[in-house]
Symmetry: D2
């Protein structure tokens, strides 16, 4: 298999670590550049002992320079904060390198929405139109032809995949949708902070960021596209004392309140039949984040409750693999002409 050279900017976060882990086992994408201002000069294996004796361990961390990155890499992953990413993507694209951006900088099609939710002006608005939203199940063809892919947020990936079959099959009212989402602590990032210390997260549970978490407009954008109309919904995240994983519990009103549990399940099963990574669980079974740990699966259950007229969807992913690094690699696979699953046929680590 022909090798493509991959650069990774932003190596110190959990998404960057996960890219390094996944590329260590990838047959065609080779990590050739890793950038971090703070850690420049170290070998990657020195920074991440888990990587020693594996491919990538000997890459020496460097400071990002667009021209050099473009010269050395076929594709670059930007795992840096929103606001920083757009300033790197513009020159990389100009030099002809492909880009998968992990930040929110290119996820929203509307510049106005970006500026409102992120309190920052966007300095590459043309790219907002060009960037493809990187969920392979929804946009495989466009991703394959893209120069710039906006890698989706972890919560949006989980929520959108969860709602997809309900919207495609017209099972629910689009008003009044509530997403109650729960994430492991790696979602909070790998930066020193008292509020994510072990003792502040362990053996406790809390909500955060509601009712205006920044993943809201991204979910609303994609749900609106699926619904064919503007949808406003309530998205509310919580922090679970675990490392990895997201479970989204989605509540919507059944369009036909007498719909049976069997009918709803059958619609979901049909929609996702043959999907590589979306697994609709048998009726009665409910997803658990551990069953998708470290892999690309999205496990979905659907419950139609006639008593309350509600459709409840439960959707689980690994936030670092499916919700970030793994999905980025799936997108890179498509952008490089490789089968989408290359290097990603991972059994969950239970």
């Amino acid at each position: 298999m022909k090798t493509r050279r991959v650069g990774l900017v932003g190596i110190t976060g959990y998404a960057g670590m996960e890219v390094a882990r996944l590329l260590a086992g990838h047959p065609a994408l080779r990590l050739v550049m890793a950038c971090s201002r703070a850690e420049a000069g170290k070998r990657l294996g020195e920074l991440y002992p888990f990587l020693e004796k594996l491919p990538g361990a000997d890459v020496v961390i460097s400071v990002f320079e667009a021209e050099k990155a473009a010269a050395g890499c076929d594709i670059v992953f930007l795992a840096v904060p929103a606001g920083t990413a757009m300033g790197m993507a513009v020159p990389l694209l100009a030099y002809g390198t492909k880009v998968v951006d992990f930040s929110a900088d290119f996820r929203l099609r509307s510049r106005q929405a970006y500026e409102e939710w992120y309190s920052r002006s966007h300095n590459a608005p043309d790219l907002l139109r060009e960037a493809v939203y990187g969920i392979p199940e929804l946009y495989a063809e466009q991703i394959a032809g893209a120069r710039l892919v906006a890698n989706p947020g972890c919560y949006p990936t989980c929520s959108i995949l969860g709602l997809y079959a309900a919207l495609k099959n017209d099972l629910i009212e689009t008003g009044g949708i509530v997403i109650d989402a729960k994430s492991g602590a790696s979602g909070a990032g790998r930066k020193s902070a008292v509020e994510t210390l072990f003792c502040e997260v362990s053996d406790t549970f809390r909500a955060y960021g509601l009712p205006r978490h920044r993943h809201t407009p991204e979910i609303e954008q994609e749900v609106s596209l699926l619904a064919g109309r503007d949808v406003r919904l309530s998205f509310n995240p919580h922090l679970v004392p675990m490392n990895r994983g997201i479970l989204a519990t989605v509540y919507a009103s059944l369009k036909y309140p007498r719909m049976s549990a069997e009918e709803a399940h059958e619609a979901f099963s049909r929609t996702w039949e043959g999907s590589r990574w979306v697994r609709v669980l048998p009726q009665g079974a409910l997803p658990e984040t551990r069953f998708v740990r470290g892999g690309m699966f999205c496990d979905i259950s659907v419950v139609a409750d006639q008593r309350t007229g509600r459709l409840i969807v439960l959707s689980a992913i690994d936030n670092l693999c499916r919700g970030a690094a793994g999905q980025a690699i799936a997108n890179a696979n498509l952008m490089c002409g490789l089968p989408v699953e290359t290097g990603l046929t991972l059994a969950p680590v239970v």
Copy 2:
């Protein structure tokens, strides 16, 4: 302070352990009897090493006999499964002993609801009318005069306290309420089972029992009484990898969608002003289960979201103390003519 003699039937579960812990520091209620068929003959301190050198450690565990229990105890706590409890309560009351029942046997006023949700016939329906639902904030007076108190479920305690101010102040529509609740693993009980082994709960997250968890009718009963009309709501529990604690996230439609966050917060604050154990957090703060760990507090936040027309209430309690043993002791205090907070002024163990 005059001492009252307390008996505890069902010592091997987490609620029983918590009763033993709390009574070890209680100035007026003294544990004089502890019953368990499986552990009969052991000293309580032998079963629970944490209790050694504390009051109660020397109680010898015995097999329950109603007559003997009634003779030796002023009040008996039944921490046994639903179905078993009613068979014990009847003779105890007949012998003139007061009873606080931890099970669901006397929580529902409707025999029909009980039989439907618990798939079992009720053999003491007269007591359903007599039993008082033991949330001190709602029913202190009736509890003080009761022979039989039905100690509420952990989820219902948390949910009902969370919804109370919204209903009292008529802030929400009573249709379409969703309660997304999350509990630590002690809620699953202390019985050997593969699905609650450490490795099956740790580092994972899942829903369970939805959409027909047995705490639903109990919540609906009390919410209906507060609302003055029949309310049907959607209650959905999840399992958090932590020991103790419940957080309920409650979603409802704002009656007046233009209600500001300040107005909602003010209504909640006013309603709970002066409450001993319900703490409405400052606007912008959100509850965490660790801040109520091991104590009687119920921490509540309210968020009015004009963008989606929703009122979101977050309510947190300790499931074993406020949600079971502590609330039982508060009820026993009232039933014995003691101040409700006797032995319960506990700072949370953060």
Copy 3:
């Protein structure tokens, strides 16, 4: 009970939080002053939501000034880093206030040992001679008469109590002692740092700081005093993914290799008979940190293994309560003429 006024300098750490928790339920020691440069001006309840509606919540955090502290407090707890504490203790004592110091500044009798292990000169060497090492089981009388108590480290408290009976009964060789200690993450303190983030501590286990952890000389000092000769030992700490608790596993050579398990157990039991807080477990039982959580107990098991000629002692405490704040309060009780256990008869929160 006459009230004594307590000041607490260093409120943002876990030991400070635990002092606040314990004083909220203390009948005679009242928190009247809390100092922190970073949080000055806030109410204590604002900083620590768990404290609201409890005694101490309304104390307004201030910046430490020795004269003011001395004027307003009968006793001051210094929960600040080593090096800082000595500069505060000197003026406080000069103004006539009693001091319990949580840091290492006054634990070592030898100035040279302090300067060697802490790489810092000691600027109040006279106080090294005066300060009393605050383990009530060993030095109750001296503590009662002291102006300055050096509150012991958490590991030393656990290790010294564990070794006490072995040394007193001359069961072991004093050469070649190994202490393999394991602590929860609260021992690492409440400061922002990547290495104690939830995701860096959870679901993993590691050693740290060995073979020259700073608690070593403190343990060697007290063990030498008990043994009546200079003892050099190997102390090696590990980090456990839990909040609270320390378990020390102590290995020593049996002086009489044919000593039976019964004899060893009997010697330990006899030594600690009647102790308020040290519990020697029944033969065959082993301590668990949860059984001492949040309280003052030290649970000890002793195992004599003829096969290898070893005595193994297991000793467990709560690092924040017995290993810091609770022991400080016990010392303060003694220094104020109160019974040592005042406010500390706490059942562990299992």
Copy 4:
């Protein structure tokens, strides 16, 4: 690559689950049979939702029959309890199938030692002489030619690899070795039991089984072989509130007490130079179980402490992969003529 057919007896435990995970990604070993009396008739994917859409999910669980197993499989993994395994191995070998046994039945060369430590007579003593102890780093050649491999215990694998370089380089006295080992809860197995419930393991720490844990004779056997003399040592296991991982802290007396830290480190590095899976960390770094999670690495640090005359070795593995299923597959690879690392080049899941 030519496919070999693998049978797995004992699918319900954690080791069996891990075999299923690892074989799902193995290019040459194909799971064709999975046996469990309790779960017979189910598809493997039904039992383990994490396995759906992966190789092996469609295997239908059956009841073990030696003849059928031998007919259908080139090699059989026995992941059943000690005592049961020997009864299965005898007929399988007689029918000509190769066997990797996960239990202790064939690990000890001495029948007497087996019968003493396992309180059970051995009914296939001839096989004790034939079986090869399956640590590839020590016995690759013999494994390649074996019909029956005794897959080592998790603790022994970690301890023996940790001690190997110290013994080979004659750095330590062989008397007085202490191994203080710590394991995650998956080591306790996947059987319903109160003592391994989440609430009994989480947020606590304890020792167990000491001083006569059954892994002791296995470690002593291999250490004695390496040392060239009979070694008796003290092995003491502890339970860590985490899922996977073992850390062994090994204490020994330095043969030459003036040996420097550098010399010791150099000896270890030299010994393991070029090893595929044993990683000697840089001086000053200490292993963490998360850095080997889910993979085959054994991370080792060595600390020579002149102050106490001790050599301290820290050794970390994943107990389920390196300590059970992964090592079994490495052995199976060798027995089938495949490169030892086939299907096992796994980056740890941090």
